[in-house]
């Protein structure tokens, strides 16, 4: 039996599966938040979700629109001040994985959420760094999820808001007290991991039905594929049902006042 699902759903389910039960995860808003909560509602009931608004171990029933929705506080174990969140919980080394989205990512998994073009005369001004620069360096490792496109996957980001492995892949070498950095990138087409040596992103798994050509066309550099290229497991019926219910609940809640 083959299930019907969208590439977005495939991305969310794959991203969710990256989280192991019991991990502490510092969650970015949007796709990471969707994936992290799906993980919590499926295979990882004891995953600990932390949002930068200060909400520790939160269990929202609907996805937050903002990083500080009331739902996050009401369902949290406790809520701390934002300086404490960044100092004790993130910088203090209590976070296993930072889960981030981005506007632009390059071959060394550097993230740009600052701007497109030149800093002094931007073509497009993006929201900026937010929590990402320190999440990416203080968390044990980093998962990144975003839609695959040539605009997003560029050879070199216009601006390194947030360190992946630096413009030469060596940005974490010999830096004390720094996390492993991005260990996987989950898109709607595939899963990528950094090459253990060069730190360049390599496709390790293609989603069902996706071709190498599609990935190549959607990537702004000469993307490499792992020798043992895998096929990403399909979503289960249970995962899809729970994801769809979560999104439906969320939509209903946000449509109201």
């Amino acid at each position: 039996m083959s299930l019907e699902y969208t590439s977005s759903e495939m991305m969310s389910v794959t991203a969710a599966r990256a989280l192991e039960n019991g991990m502490t995860c510092f969650v970015g808003i949007g796709l990471p938040s969707e994936a992290a909560n799906l993980a919590r509602l499926t295979h990882a009931p004891e995953v600990v979700l932390i949002y930068e608004s200060g909400t520790l171990q939160t269990k929202p029933d609907i996805l937050p629109l903002s990083i500080g929705d009331g739902e996050l506080c009401e369902s949290a174990l406790t809520t701390v001040a934002v300086p404490e969140m960044f100092r004790y919980w993130l910088q203090g080394g209590k976070v296993d994985v930072g889960f981030l989205g981005t506007a632009q990512i390059d071959r060394f998994a550097n993230l740009n959420t600052t701007l497109i073009g030149d800093y002094k005369a931007p073509k497009v001004r993006l929201p900026g760094g937010g929590g990402a620069p320190e999440i990416a360096t203080n968390a044990g490792e980093v998962f990144i999820t975003l839609k695959h496109s040539k605009r997003a996957f560029v050879k070199d980001v216009d601006f390194v808001t947030t360190l992946g492995f630096g413009r030469d892949g060596k940005g974490r070498d010999n830096v004390p007290n720094i996390g492993k950095g991005p260990t996987r990138v989950i898109t709607d087409l595939c899963v990528m991991k950094p090459d253990p040596e060069t730190k360049e992103l390599v496709v390790v798994s293609l989603h069902p039905g996706v071709t190498r050509e599609e990935v190549i066309d959607a990537t702004g550099w000469d993307i490499r594929f792992a020798e043992q290229l895998e096929s990403t497991p399909e979503p289960s019926e249970n995962e899809l049902t729970i994801l769809r219910e979560l999104k439906a609940r969320t939509e209903r809640a946000h449509a109201g006042e």
């Binding site: 909400t55 629109l65 550097n110 900026g128 007290n177």
Partner: protein, 272 residues
């Protein structure tokens, strides 16, 4: 001791043209009523500090109150861009503004350091980021014990900070509850502070370790019922996610924005 003032009088007294102003509230408890009062009083040349400028600074920037914005994430949460901020930065409308941008960790630590009376915040940050190349206020120091290179930023010390909170007692002590963000730090770091509250009560009924800001650490308390809308007040009313989404269309265009401002701030405030 905090003085009980009308919001009009509090803003008139403490928000001077050219001042450095922090209006805080991390998604929750954003002091919109106070922001509208600042717009209505046509304050100018403000340096606006906020981790997340949000709609409140988008409105103030569009209304021409700001000459500079210091921030760490400038978007409409979950929706998209802040069009008035972008129009000011990219096209200088209604006036040119300067921006100085940080990461959240830097600003959170800078507020903490400001509350702590220190000139700088030291933290493990900005490693590998290019933000230090466009923000000359980011420096690095060496730990004298370990030799580790750590980031340093100046502390935040506003002329005036404005926050919204659930309630004050009759002495002017204020209870903040829920997502408390950097609000206490903003008040303690500032020379002057205004706290708007939903209501004044006889007894705060706070638990032993509640986030209570004593009256003597606040300049003025002003009642502003629903003073955080379209943001929210934990225990009082929810966030208007609908308005946050609607704002995108309103703010995208100078004319619709100007009309909105006229109808919802200038004329509404005049009716008071």
């Amino acid at each position: 001791m905090a003085e009980f003032l009308s919001l009009h009088d509090a803003v008139a007294r403490y928000v001077q043209d050219g001042a450095t102003v922090a209006m805080e509230g991390f998604t929750h408890l954003i002091p919109f009523a106070a922001g509208h009062e600042v717009i209505w009083q046509k304050k100018r040349d403000l340096t606006l500090i906020r981790m997340t400028p949000d709609i409140i600074y988008d409105q103030m920037i569009g209304a021409g109150c700001a000459k500079k914005v210091i921030f760490s994430w400038g978007g409409n949460p979950g929706v998209g861009s802040l069009h008035r901020l972008r129009d000011a930065v990219e096209k200088g409308w209604p006036c040119k503004i300067e921006i100085l941008e940080h990461s959240h960790a830097a600003m959170a630590c800078a507020f903490e350091a400001g509350a702590a009376g220190l000139p700088l915040a030291v933290f493990r940050g900005y490693i590998g980021s290019e933000l230090p190349s466009v923000n000359d206020q980011i420096k690095f120091i060496e730990c004298p014990f370990t030799g580790e290179r750590l980031a340093a930023v100046p502390s935040v010390r506003p002329d005036v900070s404005i926050i919204h909170a659930q309630r004050a007692d009759r002495q002017g002590n204020v209870l903040v509850e829920g997502i408390v963000g950097v609000q206490k730090e903003a008040v303690l770091a500032a020379k002057h502070s205004i706290v708007t509250v939903e209501e004044i009560v006889d007894d705060l009924n706070a638990h032993p370790n509640a986030c209570v800001i004593p009256s003597w650490a606040i300049s003025a308390v002003a009642v502003a019922e629903k003073g955080a809308l379209p943001s929210y007040t934990h225990g009082y009313y929810g966030r208007s996610n609908r308005f946050y989404k609607e704002w995108d269309a309103i703010a995208r265009d100078r004319d619709t924005f100007t009309q909105w401002l006229d109808e919802n701030v200038y004329r509404k405030e005049e009716k008071r």
